[in-house]
């Protein structure tokens, strides 16, 4: 078995997993990250950070988290060899990390279980969340239902229209879905509104951010709750192939599933990482959400990262067929990985994603989320260029059941 020994640097913020040395004390990943929020919520971020760092060291907290991830979420998720897809493409061997098989059908629940346990520990009586595609909203509503905590989810009106199924699921789970009519009526605006709620409710409410974005400690904490994806992959691929993969490929909106997959491999230099962004309808402003591939450094939602902004720092409109990728910012750690050249970021158009959505369904009997379909679409282009002895792991971050109506509409079917 070949495995490079990972260096673990002892540091206050080093992750429970291997290879993490960032962020620094103020939450910076190089020139990215930080805390850019109103004074009103600064004390709450300090409180959250303190509670999180304590919980992380507490064996009973970790045991409880592990219990729910195993018994309730159904972890570990499988690492499935996509044989027909591999053969069809004729290049690298492709594995799918099946986060779609988690309870609620996506990776988002890894984080919401972790954060709700933390909220309970901090004595918070209410949970709020933002959601784009609705997967994070459903995962939050699910965790809140299981623990019997009041839950309000902010969702853009545009997303409510295209993700009606998830809206209904959240309501069934007892959450209140609050429509957001400001701005572009999508994920960015839902995040604004959740932050504004938190400005008023911060004393008794915990805000569960769904991705590796926002002010410190969120990018670090959400990453830590998602690294279970990559840690499992590492173990599983060593069992199956007796070596590490050559490529990790995952979609990037805010970047939580990709960071969860990538992070445990950061110090394994032979493993290449590719994040796939939403190329939407084209490269014009407002037609895509390719933050890392065409944005510049700026501040959005409490941290410095690549963002799509104009020369005054105003957020630019974005588009993606996938509500989960339709976001003008991205996690600060992804921005950092791009800058140091450790990860590469590419983009895939709406049409390519929809094609991959269908291909994956027909070849593997798996309907992927439109978000994950972006990662599959890139693999479809990329795998044939590689020799057969190479290995690719794709994070299949969620199930495409939620997207059936939207894709049917796009393909001209009436349901």
């Amino acid at each position: 078995m070949v495995m490079t020994k990972t260096k673990v640097k002892a540091q206050e913020y080093s992750d429970i997993s291997e290879g993490a040395t960032l962020p620094d004390k103020l939450g910076h990943f190089g020139r990215f990250g930080g805390k850019f929020v109103p004074e009103t919520i600064m004390p709450a971020l300090d409180e959250l950070e303190k509670a999180y760092l304590e919980a992380k060291k507490d064996t009973s907290f970790n045991a409880e988290l592990e219990y729910y991830l195993r018994e309730y979420v159904g972890r570990p998720s499988t690492l499935y060899y996509a044989e027909r897809l591999t053969k069809k493409l004729g290049g690298a061997k492709i594995y799918l990390k099946r986060e779609d098989l988690n309870h609620t059908g996506a990776h988002k629940i890894n984080n919401t279980i972790g954060q709700i346990l933390l909220a309970i520990r901090m004595g918070k009586k209410r949970i709020i969340a933002e959601t784009g595609a609705g997967q994070h909203g459903v995962a939050t509503a699910t965790a809140a239902a299981m623990f019997g905590i009041e839950c309000d989810v902010y969702m853009g009106e545009e997303d409510i229209k295209r993700q009606a199924l998830n809206v209904f699921r959240m309501k069934l789970l007892g959450a209140t879905v609050i429509p957001v009519a400001s701005g572009s009526k999508t994920l960015k605006d839902a995040t604004n509104e959740a932050l504004r709620d938190w400005m008023s409710s911060v004393r008794n409410t915990h805000y569960i951010i769904g991705s590796v974005v926002g002010p410190h400690p969120y990018p670090m904490m959400v990453r830590d709750f998602q690294v279970i994806i990559g840690k499992e992959v590492k173990k599983q691929i060593l069992e199956k192939e007796h070596r590490l993969p050559d490529y990790l490929i995952a979609c990037v909106g805010g970047g939580s599933n990709s960071m969860g997959l990538f992070h445990p491999f950061i110090e394994d230099k032979e493993v290449n990482m590719i994040g796939v962004e939403a190329g939407g309808l084209g490269t014009e402003i407002g037609q895509h959400a390719s933050t890392l591939t065409s944005g510049e450094i700026g501040i959005l939602h409490g941290s410095a990262s690549y963002v799509l902004q104009d020369d005054d720092g105003q957020t630019l409109p974005v588009h993606s067929i996938s509500a989960g990728l339709d976001y003008p910012g991205v996690g600060p750690e992804h921005s950092y990985l791009k800058d140091i050249g450790r990860a590469e970021y590419v983009s895939i158009t709406d049409d390519e994603a929809v094609k991959a959505f269908q291909d994956c369904a027909r070849l593997e009997g798996i309907i992927p989320a439109l978000e994950a379909a972006h990662a599959i679409a890139y693999t479809i282009k990329f795998a044939p260029k590689l020799s057969k002895d190479k290995i690719i792991v794709i994070c299949l971050s969620g199930s495409g059941d939620k997207d059936s109506f939207e894709v049917a509409k796009k393909l001209g079917y009436k349901i």
Binding site: G34, T40, R196, S200, L300, A304, D312
Partner: protein, 267 residues
């Protein structure tokens, strides 16, 4: 001497609080913003808080969000706003503090942004999404230009943070009256007077109070303890109400409203 410091010195001698109206630059347009500032000064306003519109203001309620949106749709750019301030400086010496998101400052480069603010004739700025510990250099650059960075204190601010903030603060402190966002409120929190007094004991810098201060009664109450009274949403709602009227009428009616607030504050 910076115009803000000078103003507070004068007001201290007169034993009267500063009245600080907030106004969004460019809503309904920059010409009217300019006229309104001159009108507010005529009515007795002491300092102007000039909101530079931002696409995603986290600390603002629906009224200011909507005014920012209208201003941006009209095409209000930072460079146009600086030009407007330069124009104003030919007519008035009233201190002007801009309220601006750190997203904008960061994009422009903070040193350049401060230099251009000084050239335009602004006296300070307040950055709702920049906690004091994030950019120490910005405070230094401002100090070199005798330009004031007004810091916020909230009801949630811990004593430890309060010490850090009062140490960095320049010009005046902006006390956020409520745990929440900007907007019109019927009632101010019960512990507000107590909180303002506590803050005033910790610092010699003037303390101005905003967020939720909506009526002349509120202004009067705050004016009895604070060094400054800030009103934003209530004024922006008046501007919105008169937006369809001829500019002269808008300026006169909003001016009358501000006049009432000033009478309240200065009781």
């Amino acid at each position: 001497m910076n115009r803000i410091d000078k103003k507070f010195q004068e007001l201290k001698a007169k034993k009267t609080p500063a009245f600080i109206p907030f106004i969004t630059a460019g809503d309904p347009d920059l010409q009217i913003t300019k006229d309104l500032i001159l009108e507010f000064e005529k009515r007795g306003a002491d300092i102007i808080e000039l909101g530079i519109p931002f696409s995603d203001p986290i600390a603002d309620g629906p009224i200011i969000q909507a005014s920012y949106y209208r201003a941006l749709v009209k095409g209000a750019k930072v460079s146009h706003i600086f030009d407007m301030v330069s124009e104003l400086r030919k007519k008035t010496e009233i201190p002007i503090v801009s309220m601006v998101s750190y997203s904008t400052i960061f994009k422009k480069g903070f040193s350049g942004f401060i230099e251009n603010s000084v050239i335009a004739g602004l006296d300070g700025l307040t950055i709702p999404d920049l906690p004091v510990e994030e950019n120490l250099e910005l405070f230094e650059v401002a100090r070199k230009h005798n330009f004031k960075v007004v810091c916020f204190v909230a009801p949630t601010t811990t004593d430890q943070r309060m010490a850090l903030i009062t140490q960095r603060a320049q010009g005046f402190l902006y006390y956020i009256s409520v745990v929440g966002i900007t907007g019109i409120r019927d009632k101010l929190p019960d512990d507000i007077i107590q909180n303002i007094n506590k803050l005033k004991q910790m610092t010699n810098i003037p303390v101005a109070v905003g967020f939720g201060v909506s009526t002349s009664e509120h202004a009067k109450l705050i004016g009895t303890v604070a060094d400054g009274v800030i009103v934003g949403s209530a004024i922006m709602r008046e501007i919105e109400n008169y937006a369809k009227e001829p500019p002269e009428k808008l300026v006169r009616c909003v001016g009358e409203f501000v006049g009432q607030l000033i009478s309240g504050a200065k009781g």
